[in-house]
C-alpha cells in the first residue's frame, strides 16, 4: 500500500500539470521568454560548474590518495547542503561586489551573477555525481592500463575518462535539471537588480514564483509555467537515468 503513495503523487503531478503544459504548447500563454532565460541560465551554470567539477572528480577518484578522498568527499557532500536562499543572500552580499570588481559592468546585470551563483551551488552536487560515474568504471580497466605501462594520469585521461563518458553526461544532465529548477537564487538576484530592465532575468521557476507573489490568483499562468518546468526537469532526469543505465563504454 505505502509503496503506492509515491506513484499516486506522480499521478497527481501529471494530472495537475499536463493541462498547463498543453496550454503552454498551444500558445495560450507565452512561456518562450522564460524558457529562453532558463536555457541561458543553465548554460552559464554549466560553464561555471562543469570544468572544476570534472577536474575535482578526476582528482578525487583517480589521482588522490585514499586518505585524501576519505577526508574531502564528506566535506564536499556537506557543502551541497547550503540552502539556495542563503546562496541568494551570498550573491548579493559578496558575489555581486566581487564580480563588479573583477569584470567591470557585470555586477549590475542579472545573467552573469545568477549563472555564477547557481554554478557554485550546483558544483558540489555535480562533483559528487561525476565521482560516482568514475567509480562505476571497473577496476580491471585501470589495471589493464597500468599493465601496459600507463601511469595514473595517463590511465585516467585515456582509459577511465572515455569509459565514463556516458556516466559523466548523465551526471551533467542531472546537475542541469537541478539548475533548471532553481527558483530562489534567480528570484533574489533578479529582484535586487530590478532597476535596469534590459538586465532582467526570469527563468521558468522564478517567473512562476514572481507571477504568484505579484498577482495572487493568477493560477492559469502559473500552471502553464509549472507544466513546462516539470516537463523540462523530468526530461533531463529521464535522459540522465537512461544514460546511467549504459554500461561503461568501450575505450576507442
Amino acid at each position: 500500500m505505502a509503496a503506492l503513495i509515491p506513484l499516486a503523487s506522480s499521478a497527481l503531478l501529471l494530472w495537475t500539470f499536463v493541462p498547463g503544459l498543453v496550454a503552454a504548447l498551444f500558445g495560450r500563454f507565452s512561456v518562450g521568454a522564460a524558457v529562453w532565460d532558463s536555457m541561458r541560465t543553465v548554460l552559464g551554470t554549466a560553464l561555471v560548474a562543469f570544468p572544476p567539477g570534472l577536474a575535482g572528480a578526476l582528482f578525487l577518484r583517480e589521482l588522490a590518495a585514499p586518505t585524501t578522498r576519505r577526508r574531502l568527499k564528506p566535506a564536499i557532500e556537506v557543502a551541497a547542503a547550503v540552502p539556495t536562499v542563503v546562496w541568494g543572500w551570498f550573491a548579493l552580499v559578496a558575489l555581486a561586489p566581487a564580480l563588479r570588481g573583477v569584470v567591470p559592468g557585470t555586477g549590475q546585470s542579472a545573467w552573469p551573477l545568477a549563472s555564477l551563483t547557481v554554478g557554485l551551488m550546483v558544483l558540489p552536487t555535480f562533483l559528487t555525481l561525476a565521482d560516482d560515474a568514475l567509480a562505476a568504471v571497473p577496476q580491471s580497466y585501470r589495471e589493464a592500463a597500468y599493465a601496459l605501462g600507463a601511469d595514473r594520469w595517463t590511465a585516467a585521461r585515456w582509459v577511465v575518462l572515455p569509459a565514463a563518458a556516458w556516466g559523466l553526461t548523465s551526471a551533467a544532465a542531472l546537475a542541469m535539471a537541478r539548475a533548471m529548477g532553481e527558483a530562489m537564487i534567480v528570484l533574489v538576484v533578479g529582484r535586487a537588480l530590478a532597476g535596469a530592465a534590459q538586465n532582467s532575468l526570469a527563468t521558468l521557476p522564478a517567473s512562476l514564483l514572481g507571477a504568484i507573489l505579484e498577482s495572487p490568483g493568477n493560477w492559469a499562468e502559473a500552471r502553464a509555467l509549472g507544466g513546462t518546468l516539470l516537463a523540462a526537469t523530468l526530461g533531463l532526469g529521464g535522459v540522465s537515468r537512461l544514460l546511467q543505465q549504459r554500461s561503461p563504454g568501450r575505450v576507442p
Binding site: 503513495i5 506522480s10 540552502p83 543572500w89 559578496a94 527558483a183
Partner: protein, 271 residues
C-alpha cells in the same frame, strides 16, 4: 597513510576553497550581525524570528512524520517483499522522476489540488506535506540502499532460527539499517530546512508580526530571509545576515551529522 606532496597541495587547495567560501559567508554574516548589536538593535527581539524558528521546527516535524514511514514502507516493499518485476521497474523509474521534480512545482501542485486557495488561508499541515514530498525521494533512496546492504546471510540466519519473514525483517534487518536510515533523515532535513520557494507559493507569512494561529499563518527561516532580501535593496541588513547564518548552521549541521554517521559506519564495516 601519509599524503604525498602533490596530494597534499591539491588537498589544501580544495579545503582552502571550501573554507574561503564558507568563511566569507560566516564572516560577512557575523560582521553584519555584530554591527547591528553594537548599534543597539536587539536582534533576538527581531520581529518574526521566533515565529520563523517555531514555524521551521513545526514544518520539519510534520514533514518527517508524513514522509519517513512512507519511505521506509516503500523501501521494504521494493527490496524485501519481491514485487513483480514490472512494478519494481515502474517504482524505480517513478523514484527517479520524483527526485527530479523542483520543489516549487510541489508547492504549486499542493495549492492547485487543495482548491486554489486564496492568499491568507494557509496551513502548516499543507506546508509540512509539501516539504515531506521534497524529503521522500531522498529518504527512499537511502533506505533502499541500506536494506540492500544487509547481507542475505543475516536473513538466512534468522530464518534458520525459526523466525518468520516479518520477524526477521523487524528484529534483524531493519535494526541493522538504523544508522543509514538516520543518515537519510539528516540529508532530508538538510534539504528541506532551506526550502523557501514552495512555502512562498503556499502563502507563508513574509515578514513582521507573530502569527499565533498556525492554521491560518506561519513563517519559516528561509521565507523570512527572502523577506529580508526581497526589498529591492542591494545590501541586505543585519537581520538578513543573522537569518542566513542560522539557516546555514541548521542545514550544514544536519548534513554533517548525516555524513559522520555514514562514514563512521563505512569505516567500521571495512575494518
Amino acid at each position: 597513510m601519509r599524503l604525498s606532496g602533490r596530494d597534499r597541495s591539491v588537498w589544501l587547495a580544495g579545503v582552502a576553497g571550501l573554507i574561503f567560501i564558507f568563511g566569507a559567508m560566516l564572516w560577512l554574516g557575523l560582521a553584519a550581525a555584530s554591527g547591528a548589536s553594537v548599534a543597539g538593535q536587539s536582534l533576538a527581539a527581531a520581529p518574526g524570528l521566533g515565529a520563523a524558528i517555531a514555524g521551521t521546527a513545526g514544518l520539519l516535524g510534520l514533514a518527517l512524520l508524513f514522509s519517513s514511514p512512507v519511505a521506509l514502507a516503500a523501501a521494504i516493499y521494493l527490496e524485501e517483499l519481491s514485487p513483480p518485476a514490472w512494478l519494481a521497474r515502474l517504482l524505480s523509474w517513478n523514484l527517479t522522476a520524483l527526485a527530479a521534480v523542483p520543489s516549487v512545482v510541489w508547492g504549486l501542485a499542493a495549492v492547485l489540488v487543495s482548491g486554489e486557495m486564496a492568499a491568507g488561508h494557509v496551513s502548516l499541515w499543507l506546508g509540512g506535506l509539501v516539504l515531506g514530498a521534497v524529503m521522500l525521494p531522498i529518504e527512499l533512496v537511502v533506505a533502499r540502499d541500506a536494506l540492500r546492504a544487509v547481507p542475505r546471510s543475516a536473513r538466512e540466519a534468522a530464518w534458520a532460527l525459526g523466525a518468520t519473514q516479518w520477524q526477521a525483517l523487524w528484529r534483524v534487518v531493519v535494526p541493522a539499517t538504523l544508522p543509514s536510515l538516520m543518515t537519510g533523515l539528516g540529508l532530508a532535513v538538510a534539504r528541506a530546512v532551506g526550502e523557501a520557494a514552495p512555502l512562498l507559493v503556499l502563502g507563508a507569512w513574509l515578514r513582521g508580526g507573530l502569527p499565533v494561529d498556525p492554521v491560518r499563518a506561519y513563517t519559516s527561516l528561509p521565507v523570512l530571509l527572502y523577506g529580508e532580501l526581497g526589498e529591492g535593496a542591494a545590501e541586505p541588513g543585519a537581520r538578513g545576515a543573522l537569518v542566513a547564518l542560522l539557516l546555514m548552521g541548521a542545514a550544514l549541521g544536519a548534513s554533517s551529522g548525516a555524513m559522520i554517521v555514514r562514514y563512521r559506519r563505512q569505516q567500521r564495516v571495512s575494518e
